[in-house]
C-alpha cells in the first residue's frame, strides 16, 4: 500500500509542474496582452497567401514583357 506515496508524489509533482508553467508564462508577459494575440491568430492564413499570389503575378508580367521584346 506504500504505492500511495508514489501516487501522491506523482499527483503533486504534476500539479507543481503546472504551477511552475503558470508562473513562467506570467513572468514572460503572456498575460499582459490578452486581446491582440486572439486577433493576430486570424491573420495568419492571408499572410501566407498574399506573397504567393503576388509572386505569380510578378512572374506573369515578366513573361509578357519578354514576349513583347
Amino acid at each position: 500500500m506504500s504505492v500511495i506515496y508514489v501516487l501522491l508524489a506523482i499527483s503533486i509533482l504534476v500539479a507543481v509542474i503546472f504551477f511552475i508553467a503558470f508562473i513562467v508564462s506570467v513572468k514572460s508577459g503572456q498575460y499582459d496582452d490578452s486581446y491582440t494575440p486572439s486577433v493576430r491568430m486570424l491573420f495568419e492564413d492571408e499572410l501566407v497567401k498574399t506573397p504567393k499570389t503576388s509572386a505569380k503575378e510578378f512572374t506573369k508580367k515578366k513573361i509578357q514583357l519578354n514576349k513583347q521584346v
Binding site: V26, D32, F43, E46
Partner: protein
C-alpha cells in the same frame, strides 16, 4: 453633390473627390496611403474592415529632433549598434485592420524586422536595423500611413514602470494550494480517515498524517506569501490606531493557521487548512477583480504628457538647432512649426500666429496673434512657421506652474475611508467581544472547550464575505461603466461618486461641443448668386470656421471662381463674373468692429460694400437642459468658466433657474473655488475638459474629464467620460449610488452567514466540515449576488 465615402478613411468626399483605381478618396493623403498599401500587396487591410484608415497628416520637420542622438537614446529601449527596439504609443490604433497593417510593417520597409502591436495599450514594439533606417524614418513611415506615434516629454523622462504582477503570482499560489488541499482533504470530508475501529478506512487512517502534513506544507506559502499583505495592512492599521477590515481578516488567517497546526501536531483533528487556503484565495480574487485598469487610458497626465520632447532653437547666428525642451531658458529664440505645441510663454517676433488653445481651455477656434503679442504655453500653432522669444523657462510657464500646487501630490485615496473599512471597525469590536464572552462562559462550564470556542469564533467570524462584497460590486460596476464609455480610475472613485452633493461644470468644451455648428446671419440678405459664390469660396478653405460655415450653408452647384485668394489669418477673397467678395475678419472686409467683442463672427463684404456677418455660437451638448434639470433635484450645481460673459443669457435660458454662473475664472481660482466648497463640508464633483481645469479636477472629490477623443486628450482626473455619453452622466451617478446599496445588502447577507456560523462556534460544535462548507458558501453566494445585481443595474443604464 453625391454622398461618396472615402475608400480609405470613410469620411465623406464632398469637399474634394479624387478618383483612383476605380475608388474614391477624400484627399491626396488617403490616396497616397492606398497606393502605398496596394503596391506592397497590403490591400487585405481593407478586407478586414472597410474604411479602416485615418487621414494621414504630413508634417514637415516635426520629427527632426529624432536625429539628435541624445534624445533618441532615451527613447530607444534596446540598442546594440545594429538593431534597435522601440516601443511607440499610437493613439490611432482602433481596429483589427490596424493590428494587421502594423504587424506587416516589414513589407513596407525591409529594414523593419519585427513589429508587434499591443492593442489594449495601443502601443507598437518595432525592431529594426539601424544601419539604413533611423528612428526618424520609422516615425515618418508610421505617420505617412496614418499611424502617427505620440511622443511626449513624458516618454523622454523615461520612468518605465515594470508591470506589477505580484497579485497574479499570489493568486496563483493561493489557487494552487487551495485546489491541492481540497484534494487532500477528501478522506476527512467523507470521514474515511476516522479511526479504524469506528468503521473508517484502515489504509487511509494509516496514512492520515501524511495527508495532513502535506496540507500543512501547502498552507505555508499561502499564509506567509499570498496572505502576507493582510498582516502588513492590519499591522499598519493598528499602529495608526485604526481598526480596518484587514484586522479581523489577519486575525482569522492567523488563528486558522495556528489552530490547524496545533490540531494536526497533537492528533486532535484535521485542521481547517482547506478553509484557510480557500479564504485567502477568495480574498485575493476580490482584490484581483478590483484591480481592473484601463491600460490604454492615462489618468495621471500632467503637462509633460502633452509637451514635445524637443524644440528648434535659433542660435545667435540664426541657425536652427534641436534642443530638449527643458533647456529652453528666458531669452531664447524659438522656431515653432505648423502643428507644433508652444512649450513656453513668450512673445511672438515673426509670423502669423493662429493658435489653437483647445488643450488648455477646450475652445477649438484658433486665436490670431500678431507680432509683439504674448503667447502662452499649451497652444498649438496652426498656420505655418512662427518665431518667438521665450519669456520664461518651461517649468515657470503660466500653465505648468499649476502643477506645483500641493493638490497634485496628495493621493485622494489615502484620505478617504471606504465603506468596508468603516464597517470593519464595528465588526472587529463585536467579534472580539463575542469571542471573549463565549470563552469566559465556557471557562466556567467546561474549561477544556474554552480555547476551542475562542478560536472557532475568530475563524468563523472572519469577514471574508464582507471583504468580498465591495471589490466584486465595484469591480463589476467599473467594467459596466467602461462598456458605457465612462472610464473610472479605480473602485474608490465609484464610492466617492456616490457621495457627491455638489457638481461644478466647466463651460467651454465641457457643456459645449468643440464644433461650432450653429450660426445666424445678421445684415443685408445675400442674393442667390452671392450665396453661391460664398459657398464655393469657403469650400477650399481649411480654417475651422470656414468648415463649420460650409456645413451650415445651403447646397450650391460647384462653380469655378474667376479669382480666389486666401489671406492667411485674415480671410478669403474671390470673384466671379462682376461680383468680388471678401470673407473673413472685420478688419479684412473693411468693417470697424464696433459691436460686442465677445462673439465669433465671419464678416462678408462684396464690391458693393459691407453685407453682413455670420455669428457663431457655442453649441451646447444635446440634452444639456435635461441633464441639469435632473441633476438639480438632488445636487447643487454651478458653472465655472474661464471665458467671458458673452454667453451668459443663453446659458441662463438653458439651465435651471438660479444656477450660479461664474465667468473669467483662472485655473488657480477654479481650484480655490472647489477648495472653499470642500471646507464647507461639501463633496464636490468637478466636470471639466482642458488643462486649465486640471487643478480643479485634482482638488475635487471626483474629477471627471469630458473628452471627445479619449485616447488623445484628457487632463489628470479620476474618470473620463466620452463626450457622446454626456446625457448619461446623472444616470451614472445614480448607478454608483445603487452599487453602494448593493454592497450594504451584501453586508447583511454575510452577517446572516456569520450568525449561523457563530451559533456552531459558540456552542463548541464547529467541525472542520462545517467550516469547509459554510466559509466558501458565504463567499460564493456574495460573489453571485453582487454580480447579478450589478449586471441588473448595468442593463437599466441602457
Amino acid at each position: 453633390m453625391q454622398d461618396t465615402k472615402c475608400f480609405h478613411c470613410g469620411d465623406s468626399c464632398d469637399r474634394q473627390l479624387i478618383e483612383f483605381d476605380e475608388k474614391s478618396f477624400c484627399c491626396a493623403g488617403c490616396k497616397t496611403v492606398y497606393e502605398i498599401f496596394s503596391t506592397n500587396d497590403l490591400e487585405h487591410y481593407y478586407e478586414i474592415q472597410a474604411a479602416a484608415g485615418s487621414t494621414p497628416k504630413f508634417i514637415e520637420g516635426k520629427y527632426d529632433y529624432l536625429e539628435n542622438e541624445e534624445i533618441t537614446n532615451k527613447l530607444i529601449e534596446f540598442n546594440d549598434g545594429t538593431i534597435q527596439i522601440i516601443n511607440l504609443y499610437i493613439p490611432n490604433i482602433h481596429c483589427s485592420s490596424c493590428i494587421w497593417i502594423l504587424e506587416n510593417l516589414k513589407k513596407l520597409n525591409p529594414n523593419v524586422t519585427n513589429s508587434q502591436v499591443d492593442f489594449p495599450k495601443k502601443t507598437i514594439r518595432v525592431t529594426y536595423k539601424q544601419a539604413e533606417f533611423s528612428l526618424k524614418n520609422l516615425v515618418l513611415l508610421l505617420a505617412n500611413i496614418g499611424y502617427e506615434p505620440y511622443i511626449s516629454l513624458d516618454d523622454f523622462e523615461g520612468k518605465k514602470k515594470a508591470t506589477d504582477r505580484t497579485l497574479i503570482y499570489k493568486l496563483g499560489v493561493a489557487g494552487f494550494a487551495f485546489g491541492n488541499v481540497m484534494f487532500l482533504s477528501f478522506p476527512e470530508y467523507f470521514d474515511l480517515g476516522s479511526s479504524a475501529a469506528s468503521g473508517g478506512e484502515f489504509w487511509l487512517n494509516k496514512y492520515q498524517h501524511i495527508f495532513r502534513w502535506l496540507m500543512f506544507i501547502f498552507s505555508l506559502p499561502v499564509v506567509f506569501y499570498a496572505g502576507w499583505d493582510y498582516f502588513v495592512s492590519a499591522y499598519k492599521g493598528l499602529r495608526a490606531k485604526l481598526l480596518n477590515i484587514d484586522v479581523p481578516i489577519a486575525l482569522g488567517i492567523l488563528v486558522l493557521f495556528l489552530r490547524s497546526t496545533y490540531e494536526i501536531a497533537f492528533h486532535v483533528g484535521s485542521g481547517f487548512f482547506d478553509s484557510l487556503t480557500g479564504l485567502v484565495f477568495f480574498l485575493l480574487l476580490g482584490k484581483f477583480f478590483q484591480q481592473r485598469t484601463y491600460s490604454f487610458l492615462s489618468f495621471e497626465r500632467d503637462y509633460k504628457s502633452y509637451f514635445p520632447i524637443a524644440i528648434t532653437r535659433l542660435n545667435d547666428q540664426g541657425k536652427e538647432e534641436t534642443v530638449p525642451v527643458q533647456e529652453i531658458v528666458k531669452g531664447d529664440k524659438i522656431l515653432i512649426r505648423n502643428e507644433e505645441m508652444i512649450p513656453v510663454d513668450g512673445k511672438l517676433v515673426y509670423g502669423n500666429a493662429q493658435i489653437d488653445y483647445s488643450f488648455v481651455s477646450g475652445e477649438s477656434e484658433p486665436v490670431s496673434k500678431t507680432v509683439g503679442e504674448l503667447i502662452f504655453a499649451g497652444g498649438k500653432q496652426l498656420n505655418g512657421v512662427i518665431e518667438m522669444v521665450a519669456l520664461k523657462s518651461v517649468s515657470q510657464s503660466y500653465l505648468t506652474q499649476l502643477w506645483g500646487n500641493a493638490v497634485f501630490e496628495t493621493d485622494k485615496t489615502t484620505t478617504f475611508q471606504n465603506i468596508t473599512d468603516s464597517i470593519g471597525k464595528r465588526f472587529t469590536i463585536s467579534v472580539l467581544s463575542i469571542a471573549f464572552i463565549a470563552t469566559a462562559f465556557w471557562l466556567f462550564h467546561d474549561p477544556s472547550k474554552a480555547m476551542n470556542v475562542f478560536t472557532a469564533v475568530l475563524i468563523i467570524a472572519c469577514p471574508c464575505a464582507i471583504a468580498l462584497a465591495s471589490p466584486f460590486t465595484l469591480g463589476n460596476m467599473l467594467r459596466i461603466f467602461g462598456k458605457k464609455k465612462f472610464y473610472i480610475k479605480n473602485t474608490q472613485t465609484i464610492e466617492q461618486l456616490s457621495k457627491i452633493d455638489t457638481a461644478i461644470f466647466d463651460k467651454t468644451g465641457t457643456i459645449t461641443t468643440t464644433q461650432k455648428s450653429t450660426a445666424h446671419y445678421e445684415g443685408m440678405p445675400l442674393t442667390a448668386e452671392e450665396e453661391s459664390i460664398l459657398k464655393n469660396t469657403i469650400r477650399a478653405s481649411n480654417h475651422p470656421l470656414s468648415r463649420s460655415l460650409y456645413d451650415l450653408l445651403k447646397e450650391q452647384n460647384i462653380i469655378t471662381l474667376d479669382e480666389y485668394e486666401e489671406h492667411v489669418g485674415k480671410g478669403l477673397e474671390s470673384s466671379k463674373n462682376d461680383i468680388s467678395m471678401k470673407i473673413g475678419s472685420a478688419d479684412f472686409v473693411g468693417k470697424a468692429k464696433a459691436d460686442s467683442l465677445l462673439d465669433t463672427s465671419i464678416y462678408i463684404s462684396t464690391n458693393k460694400g459691407y453685407k453682413g456677418r455670420y455669428v457663431f455660437q457655442n453649441k451646447y451638448r444635446d440634452g444639456l437642459s435635461d441633464v441639469f434639470k435632473d441633476m438639480s433635484q438632488s445636487l447643487n450645481l454651478a458653472i465655472l468658466s474661464g471665458d467671458n460673459e458673452g454667453e451668459k443669457e443663453r446659458l441662463e435660458a438653458l439651465l435651471p433657474k438660479l444656477t450660479p454662473l461664474y465667468f473669467n475664472q483662472k485655473p488657480d481660482t477654479k481650484l480655490e473655488f472647489i477648495k472653499s466648497l470642500q471646507d464647507q463640508g461639501k463633496k464636490v464633483l468637478m466636470v471639466g475638459d482642458g488643462l486649465n481645469d486640471a487643478g480643479a479636477l485634482a482638488q475635487s472629490n471626483v474629477g471627471i474629464a469630458i473628452s471627445e477623443n479619449i485616447n488623445v486628450f484628457s487632463p489628470a482626473c479620476d474618470a473620463i467620460l466620452d463626450a457622446s455619453k454626456f446625457q448619461q452622466l446623472y444616470s451614472y451617478i445614480l448607478a454608483s449610488k445603487k452599487a453602494i446599496r448593493i454592497i450594504k445588502m451584501s453586508f447583511v447577507l454575510s452577517l446572516l452567514y456569520n450568525c449561523i456560523g457563530l451559533y456552531f462556534a459558540i456552542t463548541g460544535q464547529l467541525q472542520p466540515v462545517i467550516a469547509a462548507i459554510l466559509m466558501p458558501l458565504s463567499s460564493i453566494s456574495i460573489v453571485i449576488f453582487t454580480t447579478v445585481m450589478t449586471n441588473l443595474i448595468g442593463r437599466k443604464l441602457g
